[in-house]
């Protein structure tokens, strides 16, 4: 089994263990959609309702829509969020939240050349592991019919560790996409159980 599949398996097991540990607490689960990729999202409220833990497991598609690579990465992020402000109307209630946590995964990092002509536009660097801090902020809107829509942005400063394809040596660099993805909104459609 290659490193890519092993990483996906480990991150999926971590995600499932978090779901199992949330028994007895208020849980929302659903789909995560973003320009970064798509996957699953889980939100677990604290008993007091003033804190929320957000866990995202998604396929990272950097370079795939622009046909620069055929590789799909995998990312797991966890943040512990605090409710900063709540709003409510007769139909909906909304909460502004922010928090920190960690992100790990196995992905491609940013490379120049998206507007270049072939073959300079293809991603040259190997995929690698990322280990990042995750700073998250967003707005969560609860509708009457057990549906929650969460719009958030996350900032992931951290490291990208990969092997060089030329000599197989290990290379550690700053994970640049962690900064650029600050501009990518994350929209989660969640069902409240």
């Amino acid at each position: 089994m290659n490193l890519h599949l092993r990483t996906a398996l480990v991150l999926s097991c971590l995600f499932l263990s978090c779901i199992a540990s949330a028994q007895g607490r208020s849980v929302c689960a659903g789909l995560l959609c973003s320009p970064k990729g798509a996957g699953l999202s889980l939100q677990v409220d604290s008993p007091s309702g003033s804190e929320v833990e957000i866990l995202n497991l998604y396929a990272d598609v950097y370079g795939l829509p622009s046909e620069r690579t055929k590789d799909v990465g995998i990312v797991l992020s966890y943040t512990h969020n605090y409710i900063l402000k709540m709003f409510s109307t007769p139909d909906v209630s909304a909460a502004l939240h922010s928090g920190v946590g960690a992100t790990c995964g196995y992905v491609h990092d940013y490379e120049k050349g998206v507007f270049s002509k072939s073959p300079a536009r293809f991603l040259e660097k190997n995929m690698g592991g990322i280990f990042c801090l995750c700073i998250n902020a967003g707005l969560s809107v609860d509708f009457e019919r057990n549906l929650t829509i969460d719009l958030s942005y996350s900032f992931n400063p951290g490291l990208h560790i990969r092997t060089e394809s030329s000599n197989n040596s290990l290379r550690v660099s700053l994970y640049k996409l962690g900064f650029y993805y600050l501009l990518a909104p994350q929209l989660s459609l969640l069902y409240r159980f």
Binding site: C33, D91, V92, F143, R145
Partner: protein
């Protein structure tokens, strides 16, 4: 058809729809709104499952090269749209959207679509929805033939009404047909066949698309 045609069509449609926004909030039965204009976001994925491509061009040495492919061919694409829903009555609405979508390998376009929706209940209630869609688009990558693409689709899904003011979530499935004029690889040299040598180059794709839409 020139490349500006889709933009002009979209602007014309927007200008036609704007005066109608005055009907927003018109009361219907039981105090519910019967008409209105709602911004819409839609995104999803599509799986191309059938491709037909027929081409015919002059080689550099003057002889004719013909080719044809028809059959199952799978390729996954993504799409994202923004636009407006105009609720025209209890059962009908019209959507005008523009965005970015993949058609096939190396073929992405900026489409402008018009969709007629029929709701079994109404836009402001939970309802099954069926629709017909047609559109046109321009390719994002510079290609040899700059003709506009055409897209037609039919589908259905379920419309979840989230608030009384018209916020709604749609889960939609559709079958889409699209036309294209893909670049032809020159068998005699690297690169593509020049436009002046192409006599015929038509491709048609069928795809199954799943999308999620939010109306506000």
């Amino acid at each position: 058809m020139n490349r500006a045609f889709p933009y002009k069509l979209f602007l014309t449609l927007l200008l036609c729809l704007l005066p109608l926004s005055g009907r927003c909030g018109e009361a219907g039965e039981n105090g519910a709104r019967a008409a209105g204009l709602h911004p819409r976001l839609e995104w999803g994925i599509g799986e191309t499952f059938y491709r037909y491509h027929s081409y015919n061009f002059d080689s550099q040495e003057g002889y004719r090269i013909r080719g044809e492919f028809k059959g199952a061919d799978f390729f996954t694409n993504a799409e994202v749209y923004a636009g407006v829903d105009w609720v025209m009555g209890k059962h009908f609405s019209t959507s005008a959207t523009a965005g970015l979508c993949g058609i096939y390998r190396h073929s992405r376009c900026i489409p402008v679509n018009i969709r007629i929706n029929y709701y079994t209940s109404s836009f402001y209630n939970d309802s099954a929805v069926v629709f017909l869609q047609a559109g046109t688009g321009i390719k994002t990558r510079a290609s040899v033939q700059k003709n506009a693409l055409f897209l037609v689709a039919a589908g259905g899904g379920y419309h979840f009404s989230l608030t009384r003011s018209g916020t709604a979530l749609d889960l939609l499935l559709r079958v889409q047909g699209s036309s294209d004029h893909p670049d032809l690889v020159n068998p005699e040299s690297s690169g593509t066949v020049e436009k002046r040598n192409i006599r015929k180059n038509d491709a048609y794709y069928c795809a199954l698309n799943f999308s999620i839409a939010l109306s506000f």
